[in-house]
């Protein structure tokens, strides 16, 4: 528990002072909360005195009582309000800061890191997990720290007052903290299991939704929901099991505290009987014993939340400890754009994807990369854009090692047309402007025209102000593709990396896409993962990749007379392009 609290305190960073202030304030508040009880004892004593004729009770006493209690309420209100403002607000500040920190990290890590992390998990960490932190952290810290300090003060006071009472209270706390220890042990054991079941459920539901169309057209509702329902059930069972384990420990914990109350009641009564304690005092202690453990009981309910907060903190830490890929990078400007791979080897994990790849791409030439799927074509392009760092060898652009660049200064030179077109949920204008935010309206429209987007955009009711639907779903594949090309044209980078497969997602208007690409690649250094015969035949250089190695290299004329993958490739391609059903 202390370890977790320490960790959470650490997360509060610059706000620690406000946190401590809040704790002190609520301490005072709690002590003030005992005032009305003291008043109660005072009332009893006064009435007893009155009955015994020691003093006389009158109405002004009543007004004084009301005055004191109302005064206490107002003062406590003030303290509580200040505490809320100073302390409760910290959680919101820290949450905000953490979210920004992660966002900042994502800006600077390698894409390899992102792929390991899985986007869903990152999103959950930023949204759900931190929201939980935001809502619960202060409450929990406050509850726990408060109640323990308060109890400590009480026990010290009791020990001072009467060692027997103090020791009974201490014994009660010890018994109840055994219960607490057990609870903590349970939740530490179960927390990851529970988290796992939640993740499983999340995976299943995402799969369920994504596969919905398939499920329906194959009327396989049963099969699809089976896994989902299994995950539901598992989550339910784990939670119920946790609850069942939790209940007895919780009972022990409460019981310990109640025994404290009982013991103090009985002991004070006996002491009063023996005359070692005055009756009003005894009554006050009895009454007090009924409330002294209230706060700690409340804290106990916060404990499992504390464990959950720990899991969140752990997760955040694993994200924030990411390596920045360009931490040693410098802003470098280059004036020519020759690309060279020197004996490059690379693997995503232990599996080697590329081995000893070497080739050069002179400025303003076209290089076609050809090979079966899975051969490493895409990896070559990813390495050039430094989505990953090479394991061995080096890649240079304009004579400089890509590792020397910052990500920004390297990517400034490269335009990529991705296989997965991602458009932002924003206007079409802003999506295109993404390529160069400083561009004028005319430049933006010129890029749209060059990418053959202008006509269909103008046909939309809101033109360039049309909002692109979630993930760009209101546009056809070809249209999205062309917008992404417009974006790249606007960027106007000297090097273009292109996966030609994307060029035919929507072949009904493929000539439009082709024109768009021609405008994009005009006068550039082009690296294309090539599929079309015509593209390959016209390339200045063809690099044939198979199983991570370069097996053939040359022009179409040279390679088409060699025996090898290339020749086979060309033959099949020719057939495929003329294919017809039946």
């Amino acid at each position: 528990m202390i370890r977790i609290l320490k960790r959470l305190f650490h997360m509060m960073g610059q706000y620690k002072k406000r946190l401590y202030l809040g704790i002190v304030l609520s301490m005072i508040n709690n002590i003030l909360g005992m005032f009305p009880i003291v008043c109660g004892v005072w009332v009893i004593k006064t009435i007893l005195d009155d009955r015994n004729g020691v003093t006389e009770l009158n109405r002004s006493f009543v007004f004084m009582l009301i005055g004191i209690i109302v005064g206490t309420i107002l003062f406590r209100w003030l303290l509580a309000y200040i505490r809320a403002v100073k302390q409760d607000s910290i959680a919101h500040e820290v949450t905000c800061a953490e979210r920004l920190k992660i966002g900042n990290i994502l800006k600077r890590v390698s894409l390899g890191f992102l792929q390991q992390k899985n986007m869903g998990e990152l999103t959950t960490a930023i949204t759900t997990d931190l929201a939980f932190f935001e809502m619960q952290a202060m409450n929990v810290i406050n509850n726990i720290v408060d109640s323990y300090i308060f109890l400590l003060i009480t026990i010290v006071f009791l020990l001072f007052f009467s060692p027997v009472l103090g020791l009974s209270a201490l014994a009660a706390v010890i018994v109840s903290s055994i219960g607490l220890q057990l609870i903590e042990h349970q939740s530490r054991k179960n927390s990851p299991v529970r988290q796992e079941s939640i993740n499983e459920m999340a995976d299943e539901i995402v799969q369920y939704v994504r596969g919905m169309s398939v499920v329906k057209s194959f009327k396989q509702e049963g099969v699809a929901s089976e896994g989902l329902y299994k995950a539901y059930k598992k989550s339910k069972e784990i939670n119920i099991r946790m609850e069942k384990n939790f209940a007895p420990c919780d009972a022990l914990h409460r019981f310990g505290l109640y025994m404290g109350t009982s013991a103090i009641t009985i002991i004070t009564a006996l002491m009063a009987l023996k005359g070692t304690m005055e009756v009003p005092m005894a009554i006050m202690l009895m009454v007090y014993s009924y409330v002294m453990f209230n706060t700690i009981e409340a804290a106990n309910t916060s404990l499992h939340v504390l464990e959950m907060l720990d899991t969140v903190a752990e997760k955040l830490q694993s994200i924030t400890h990411a390596e920045f890929i360009d931490k040693d990078g410098k802003d470098i400007s280059i004036d020519h754009f020759d690309i060279e791979f020197q004996d490059v080897s690379f693997g995503y994990d232990s599996r080697e994807v590329l081995s000893h790849v070497s080739f050069t791409i002179p400025q303003n030439t076209t290089t076609a990369i050809v090979g079966p799927s899975g051969s490493g074509k895409t990896t070559i392009c990813s390495l050039l854009a430094r989505f990953y760092d090479v394991k061995k060898g080096c890649i240079t652009v304009g004579g400089r090692n890509v590792k020397d660049f910052t990500c920004d200064s390297l990517l400034k030179n490269i335009s990529m047309v991705f296989q997965n077109v991602y458009l932002f949920h924003d206007t079409i204008r802003n999506n295109i402007l993404f390529g160069a935010p400083a561009a004028t309206e005319e430049e933006m429209i010129a890029a749209a025209k060059a990418a053959r987007c202008h006509d269909f955009i103008m046909a939309l009711p809101d033109g360039y102000d049309t909002l692109v639907g979630e993930g760009g779903s209101t546009l056809s594949g070809g249209e999205k593709q062309r917008i992404s090309i417009a974006r790249a044209i606007l960027k106007n980078a000297p090097i273009v990396i292109l996966d030609e497969a994307t060029a035919s997602v929507d072949p009904e208007n493929e000539h439009l896409i082709q024109q768009a690409i021609s405008n994009l690649t005009h006068g550039k250094t082009i690296i294309v993962i090539a599929h079309r015969l015509a593209t390959i035949e016209n390339a200045d250089q063809i690099v044939v990749v198979d199983e991570g190695k370069i097996t053939q290299r040359g022009t179409h004329q040279e390679l088409s007379v060699q025996e090898g993958i290339y020749k086979r490739f060309i033959n099949i391609r020719e057939k495929a392009e003329g294919w017809a059903i039946e």
Partner: protein, 587 residues
């Protein structure tokens, strides 16, 4: 959809665990009653002192009663909460199942566009969030309601004036809470909206980070992200700040029950209307009220959050269902007939206008035309992604609205680029096409779809998990698995969205062979992209602006249609196009 009351909506889900919940309430009540006993015991001890009649054995006796009361309290509380948690998790499971069922009933056209992340958020997070309040609401509601009630009744028996005085803090505390609640629903909604906005921005930032990096726009994208997050913080802080002064005041007043009891008791004593033991008892009991009153506030917030979650669940999935029929129809022919079909997605702009087409059994029809012209929509209407706005579509003479969806699924295979593989083995992924198929039949379908070779190359062959292998499979391979699935299903009508992208040539050739296998002897409707693919069609329908404007065979259209001719020439030209022909196309 009208918003149901909170309890109403909870109970609509709570039916299966009625028994447990009742028992939980009973146990909660017993626990509350047990919790009263120690107070009674203390009262008796105090009276003994006032009467100077205290003796050791009496004190020990009442001490024993006190302990017994606590034991009852603890024991039944444990039972009650366990039962209510079990019920709560059962209710959660049920709610989650409802969502899944609801999704299944929605029209295909709708489900296609559902965002998986959003559903995940609702099913996993939102619903999970209501567990704690839900589990606590039932026992604590009864506890928090009943304890004050029991105390109050007991106090009334002692002295009704003291009883009323002990409750004075409730109306007093209601004042600040009432003031706060003025705009609660609205503010809460605003908060949730801001939250949703932030979530969307975060999702986009994370998912789009690849693009962000590629266009080195991390700074500006981060700016948007930062703004969303900071504005959410502002909204939250403003909201809380506006409530703090009220909540803290209420929270301070409510438990100070002695505020009423002490002065009233003293006054009554002064006028000789009550006695010291009664005042002491009232003090004790009113303090017993404190803890349960405090829970009212918590409960209130919890009820609100439950209501919000349930409303979200209800509303988000208020997505309409296709009117369903369950009687299987006898379909002996497999021709398609569209009569005067019009369709609009939103009830406003029509995208299909009065289209009538007859596709004879086992014929090969193709839809061509510019993108956005309506050919995909037309084809999808046949698979009943949506219902037509006007006119009718029939298969074998039976209106598809009269055909149960499962039977329609048997009748029509819709093959698209969307090749979703489930996270089970490849074998099971193919078997989806026909769950009754034997292994041998699955292998046969895989062989016909040209999958056999690459599947056998995988480490675990047909038993490889498609999820993991999914990353290793190329798009073309995944597509072939999807085709194998369709082959196994063997529906008499095939609708093919032939948007085959270029994969590597070997893949492509194989996909083509797979499609040839799939379409043999079937009624075939192809949404054509590459004209060469469909040049052998029995009939090509040229669709533009939601209408069929020309039709005929490839040769006929080449002769009679300028539009088709242009498209064909563009297509031929496209085949010869190359990335690196360095001439700028004039704008």
């Amino acid at each position: 959809m009208k918003e149901k009351s909170v309890l109403g909506s909870i109970f609509s889900y709570a039916k299966p665990c009625k028994g447990k919940l009742t028992l939980s309430v009973i146990c909660a009540l017993i626990s509350v009653a047990g919790g009263m006993i120690p107070f009674v015991a203390a009262y008796h001890m105090i009276i003994m002192f006032f009467n100077h009649s205290a003796a050791t054995e009496d004190i020990l006796f009442w001490g024993g009663i006190c302990i017994a009361g606590f034991i009852v309290k603890v024991l039944f509380h444990a039972i009650s909460t366990t039962l209510s948690h079990v019920s709560a998790y059962t209710i959660l499971e049920l709610m989650r199942k409802r969502v899944a069922e609801k999704l299944l009933k929605a029209p295909l056209g709708v489900t296609q566009n559902i965002n998986a992340g959003k559903v995940k958020n609702i099913v996993v997070d939102q619903i999970e969030n209501i567990e704690i309040p839900l589990a606590h609401v039932i026992p604590e509601c009864s506890g928090a309601l009943l304890l004050p009630l029991a105390v109050f009744v007991y106090l009334c028996m002692l002295d009704f004036r003291l009883a009323l005085a002990s409750l004075i803090t409730i109306p007093l505390a209601m004042i600040p809470y009432g003031m706060m609640l003025g705009g609660y629903n609205k503010t809460y909604q605003k908060y949730m909206e801001s939250n949703e906005h932030m979530n969307n921005v975060v999702v986009e930032y994370v998912e789009g980070i690849e693009v962000v990096k590629a266009f080195n726009q991390s700074t500006s994208s981060y700016e948007k992200y930062r703004k969303a997050i900071e504005s959410f913080k502002e909204t939250t802080l403003n909201w809380y700040q506006s409530t703090w002064k009220f909540t803290t005041l209420g929270a301070v007043i409510l438990p100070t029950t002695l505020l009423g009891v002490l002065p009233t008791g003293t006054l009554l004593y002064l006028s000789g209307a009550t006695t010291l033991p009664k005042i002491t008892m009232a003090m004790l009991l009113s303090m017993g009220l404190v803890s349960s009153l405090g829970r009212f506030i918590v409960l209130f917030n919890q009820l609100k959050s439950i209501q919000y979650s349930i409303n979200t669940v209800n509303k988000t999935f208020d997505i309409g269902e296709l009117p369903l029929v369950s009687n299987e129809k006898n379909i002996s022919r497999h021709d398609i007939c569209m009569e005067h079909v019009s369709f609009s997605y939103n009830g406003k702009e029509e995208v299909i206008h009065d289209v009538s087409i007859k596709i004879p059994e086992k014929s090969f029809y193709a839809l061509v035309g510019p993108s956005g012209g309506g050919k995909s929509t037309l084809a999808r209407l046949v698979a009943r992604f949506w219902d037509t706005t006007e006119g009718s579509i029939s298969i074998g003479g039976v209106n598809i609205k009269e055909i149960p969806l499962t039977q329609l699924a048997d009748e029509v295979s819709f093959v698209t680029q969307d090749n979703f593989l489930f996270n089970s083995s490849i074998m099971e992924n193919i078997r989806l096409g026909n769950p009754k198929a034997t292994d041998a039949e699955v292998l046969e379908a895989a062989r016909k779809a040209q999958c056999d070779e690459f599947i056998n190359k995988l480490e675990h062959g047909y038993q490889s998990a498609a999820g993991e292998a999914g990353d290793k499979l190329s798009g073309g391979e995944r597509q072939r698995i999807a085709i194998a699935r369709a082959i196994l299903k063997n529906a008499p009508i095939i609708i093919l969205d032939e948007a085959t992208s270029f994969t590597d040539p070997e893949n492509e050739a194989k996909i083509q062979e797979a499609i040839t296998e799939l379409t043999k002897g079937k009624t075939l409707l192809v949404i054509a992209h590459r004209l060469s693919t469909i040049k052998n069609a029995d009939k090509i329908l040229f669709v533009e602006q939601g209408k069929v404007i020309q039709s005929g065979t490839h040769e006929e259209l080449l002769k009679n249609s300028d539009l088709y001719n242009d498209m064909w020439l563009a297509h031929i030209g496209a085949k010869k196009w190359s990335v690196n022909v360095n001439e700028e196309v004039l704008v």
